[in-house]
Amino acid sequence: MPTVLIPPPYRGPTGGLEALAVAGTTVRECIEAVDADHPGFAAQVFDAAGTPHKFVKLFVNGDPSPPEAPVGAGDEVEVLAAIAGG
């Protein structure tokens, strides 16, 4: 199964979990699979229209990827929230 890496700012819904192995064949399906067990997670990634928030970047195995990018077993889906201090 692919693994979704959860960035620290988004670990509220996952109760602090850093990574989750989920069933999914696209980035979006993986994010939604996390949300199924940890409600509120997907809302941090996608807006109401299902588009990634502007401050979110998605990566598959380190490469920038759109939500519909295919993922396979062993792939790492990384969610990165653009956040820095001030």
């Binding site: 620290p8 401050f55 956040i83 820095a84 201090g85 001030g86």
Partner: protein
């Protein structure tokens, strides 16, 4: 091979001298060096605005070298705001210029007999001199630098105070000029009122002229320059390089989502104005107005600083940061980023911390004296600071001062210093930092943006973040470069041509904290001061107002009781501020 020196300035006798920098201190720079000097040479019981306080200006260890984004300078002293030790650091070029000349620190003591006189310190290749500067008395920062630019060489940089520092207001900042040709005084060591300490010593500005002096030469040039090149390449070309390209103001929407974009004096964690205050609006303005992103200091690869223009395309301010948009914007109920830009410029001109000033304005509004959202009223009050009215001074003295004046209870501070944007109620480990940091409420002391931590993780997360940030603030690296301690150790090793283990860098960070806690203990701080006020422990934000700072005191205490055993994650933790 390093002919490093230390500048001593005696403002009582109006003299300056140079002495050798102790070899044993070579890995101490910035915050750690400031802490060591203050612990050894400053009476923690002294009046922060009296002659016995010591003002330290200390560039980081790597400032003035070719290491990327490494030119930060720390300003230190006993804070008139907190009553404890304080360090605030800034970018710009003065830190690098001092270090190019081999000056590891400027230590200012004493006080002139006549408090109405103004002086300047001139630092050149061939020596250091205290000179009269009465003609600069009362000048706002931008006008001051404009005058100095005509007086000194084009290669000079400046450290200055505005009227707020001259008036010894507790929210006063110390300004550094940035690397652009215009040398704008836009980089501020803002927190803790160190501008007031500089003002109390009659020191209006420091001029540093390195002329054409090259960067500091490392002991192992091949390894050091190779590391600089590979580190820069990795930062610039990595897959995540563009994520932070619009600087901190772009954080507004995610901070709002996480309930850490405080609204109306922190009575809410989210703001209905997040859209209009989003840094994306600033970025959109670049196309029609000009401005854009730039580096505040030579050799910076992060380039997070924005230059903001007005509707006519003229320069307005730089940089308009997330913290400023929050404290002068959302927390005051001010919805327009352009109004916040005006307020930011006024703060930079007067030499004021935008966080402390924004918090003070929000408290004033919350007390009922002025409507939330009254941007013109806020600008008028900043004008009153320059005029020295009683209200202006109260705002300029910060959150606690205006809270007392208004007899208003909701004063969100730690150790007398206003909270930055990052709220301790959703981000409880950051709250532990605010409680235990020698700096008071300062996100750059140890920011942990992780609302998923469990209570048993708060103290260790805070301590580790405080440790890495102290190490970073001693190195000269900007926290936005997000270096790890092994990376800092590698730069040190190649620069000095000797193995500096990562454990040594961690020890520098920890010893810095120990020095600072010891100073504060001497100043009279006790465990009772390691707490947040009732407005943060009893008043909730977020869903059903359920988010409160509810970390027990015994858990908070663990963050400074003793050092946690090292764990592997410590070495991959990045500095974050």
């Amino acid at each position: 091979m390093f002919d490093d020196r230390l500048i001593r300035v005696d403002m009582t006798n109006l003299s300056a001298s140079v002495e050798p920098f102790p070899e044993t201190w070579k890995l101490l720079g910035g915050r750690a060096l400031s802490a060591r000097i203050l612990l050894e040479e400053c009476d923690p019981q002294c009046d922060p605005l009296g002659p016995d306080n010591v003002l330290v200006m200390a560039p980081g260890v790597l400032s003035g070298t070719a290491a990327p984004t490494s030119g930060r300078i720390s300003i230190g002293g006993k804070s008139p705001l907190t009553g404890g030790i304080k360090e605030a650091n800034a970018g710009g070029n003065p830190g690098q210029d001092l270090m190019k000349l081999g000056y590891r620190a400027v230590v200012v003591k004493g006080q002139p007999a006549d408090p109405d006189q103004r002086y300047a310190l001139e630092v050149r290749k061939d020596g250091v001199t205290v000179v009269p500067a009465d003609d600069c008395k009362g000048l706002w920062n931008y006008a001051l630098i404009e005058r100095l630019a005509g007086r000194y060489s084009a290669t000079a940089s400046f450290i200055s105070i505005g009227p707020a520092g001259e008036m010894k207001l507790s929210g006063a900042s110390v300004a550094c000029t940035d690397q652009d040709q215009d040398r704008r005084p836009a980089r501020h060591a803002a927190r803790g009122g160190l501008g007031a300490v500089m003002g109390s010593k009659g020191l209006k500005f420091v001029m540093v002229d390195p002329e054409k002096t090259p960067v500091r030469r490392p002991a192992d040039s091949k390894a050091f320059f190779g590391l600089c090149k590979s580190y820069t390449k990795e930062f610039r070309e990595g897959p995540k390089a563009n994520v932070f390209k619009y600087g901190t103001s772009a954080v507004v929407p995610v901070a709002n989502m996480l309930n850490t974009f405080p609204y109306k004096n922190r009575t809410e964690g989210q703001s209905p104005d997040a859209q209009t205050l989003d840094g994306a609006r600033i970025v959109e303005s670049f196309e029609s107005r000009g401005g854009g992103m730039h580096n505040c200091m030579t050799g910076c690869v992060v380039q997070c600083s924005n230059i903001v223009h007005d509707a006519d395309g003229n320069y307005k301010t730089s940089a308009l940061e997330f913290e400023t948009l929050t404290l002068l914007g959302s927390s005051c109920g001010i919805a327009s980023w352009e109004d916040v830009a005006d307020l930011d410029r006024l703060c930079d001109e007067l030499g004021l911390d935008t966080i402390e000033t924004g918090a003070a304005l929000a408290i004033y509004m919350d007390s009922g004296e002025m409507e939330f959202g009254d941007a013109e009223g806020a600008k008028r009050i900043l004008g009153e600071i320059a005029e020295g009215t009683e209200l202006g001074k109260a705002i300029g003295n910060g959150a606690v001062a205006i809270g007392k004046r208004q007899k208003h209870a909701r004063v969100p501070v730690a150790k007398g210093q206003a909270l930055p944007a990052w709220d301790p109620r959703p981000l409880k480990a950051t709250g532990v930092t605010y409680c235990t940091s020698p700096m008071g409420a300062d996100h750059t002391a140890g920011l942990i943006v992780n609302p998923g931590l469990s209570p048993d993780q708060f103290a260790q997360a805070s301590q580790e973040s405080q440790l890495i940030n102290a190490a970073c603030d001693s190195s000269g690296f900007c926290q936005f470069l997000q270096p790890t301690m092994p990376e800092i150790a590698e730069f040190y090793s190649h620069f000095y041509g000797e193995a500096v283990p990562k454990e040594a860098v961690a020890e520098i960070g920890w010893q810095c904290l120990l020095d600072e806690w010891k100073f504060n203990e001497g100043a009279g701080f006790t465990a009772a001061d390691d707490a947040l006020p009732a407005c943060l422990t009893e008043e909730g934000i977020g869903p059903d107002h359920s988010l409160k700072f509810d970390v027990p005191a015994d858990v908070v205490a663990q963050a400074k009781a003793e050092r946690f055993p090292e764990r592997e994650e410590l070495w991959t933790t990045k500095a974050t501020g």
